[in-house]
Amino acid sequence: MPGTALTHPDYRGPNAFVRAELGWLPWLEPLAEADLTDRHRAGLVDPSRAKSPYFMLLAHDPDVLGARTRTDKDIFYNTSSGLPRADREIAATATSRVNGCIYCASVHARFATTHSKRGVDVDRLLDEGVGADLDPRWNAIATAAAALARTPSAFGATDIAALRQAGLDDTEIVDTILGSAFFNWANRLMLSLGEPVAVDA
């Protein structure tokens, strides 16, 4: 007997990119908290993630989830060198904008805003897309992220030259590549395993 995908006909999803907080509803049954083994807990990395239907769904394959989460954290939170946090979040937001992940874009637009205090520019990236004229540095990062989001990737010498022109060194360019590439992973999970929903104020 095949299982049945979950549907949520009573909920309405956002039809635009927004900076406001959104919810996310899974299309497959997440693990129940009571069913977590030590291996599942290790995969969740942060105990608080047991409250998230997204992470509890991914916990069905805990080893991959754990490695994914540790990859994510180092790419975005390790600021011992390289790109400032805000710029990494712009790469994540631009990638999500191109792929069409409204949920991911909202989360990382908020992070970008927190770290840059440039909510107006971040909103323009959400509203207008990666062609928005923000400033030379963010333009170069968003354009590079968009090129890397294409399949096959269109990222190349032109993007690298533009990033260098905007003042990025090679460590920062690698951070741009990693942050953008990672969201091609995250967007595909968020988009294909569930849907965003508006959270009532």
Partner: protein, 235 residues
């Protein structure tokens, strides 16, 4: 025998080189990207997705992804596991080639950005060779690679109807999504290497020599892991 780092291998990053040092400034990102690869392709528990299914989907996704080193690597690995299947996968991937991302948005202000593109179906002559599970997996993988914003509960229902379980779908989704990351890291780092002509010359030599040998290593390791599983869990 395991591959130390698939991204370094495919991008042609040599130990001690400048890009190697830069990668090591994000030590967890580097190590855990490889750990993700191991968890998907050399897992302790293969669980509901067989080794051949994993490498067949990888060969398909890497062929669609258009990054030459990744395409060669995963095609070579599948070739070692199942040469007939590898030929089928190559033909099916050719039929699925397109460019992304495309797809629709919920009706509203974003509708002007809707971009049409193909919904891929494995051509009928190859559906029997792939079987129900892999046919459904390839069609879903194509959706994830090129137009993930078109995904819907019905997309997952097709997998469930073809015999995939929820844990199996999670692993399949992670595999395709991880490769979407890995292929782009390789593409990005390769482009950065190529931007410096001297480094590029070194890298190309290293990558060519190492690729064929390491595709074989990956296949051997996967086979060994699968054999071990068979011993542990008799059918």
């Amino acid at each position: 025998m395991a591959i130390a780092d698939v991204i370094d291998l495919l991008a042609g990053i040599r130990p001690g080189s400048r890009l190697d040092r830069i990668r090591r400034e994000r030590p967890d990102a580097r190590a855990q990207s490889q750990e993700s690869w191991r968890a998907l392709f050399e897992p302790v528990h293969f669980g509901p997705v067989s080794v051949t299914e994993r490498f067949a989907v990888a060969a398909f996704v890497a062929a669609l992804g258009g990054e030459p080193a990744a395409r060669l690597f995963y095609a070579g690995t599948l070739e070692r596991l199942d040469p007939d299947l590898a030929r089928t996968v190559a033909i099916v991937a050719e039929a699925g080639a397109t460019t992304g991302p495309y797809g629709g948005y919920p009706q509203g202000p974003l509708s002007v950005e809707d971009r049409d593109g193909p919904s891929f179906a494995v051509p009928s002559p190859h559906r029997a060779a792939l079987g129900r599970r892999l046919t459904a997996a390839f069609e879903h993988a194509h959706l994830l690679v090129f137009h993930p914003r078109d995904a819907a509960p019905a997309s997952l229902q097709k997998l469930l109807d073809a015999g995939w379980t929820t844990p199996g779908i999670v692993t399949l989704s992670q595999l395709v999504a991880f490769l979407s990351f890995q292929i782009r890291v390789v593409a990005g780092l390769s482009a950065l290497l190529a931007a410096d002509a001297t480094l590029a010359a070194d890298a190309a030599l290293a990558a060519d020599a190492a690729l064929a040998a390491d595709a074989a290593l990956a296949a051997d390791a996967a086979l060994a892991a699968d054999a071990a599983r068979t011993v542990e869990e008799p059918a």
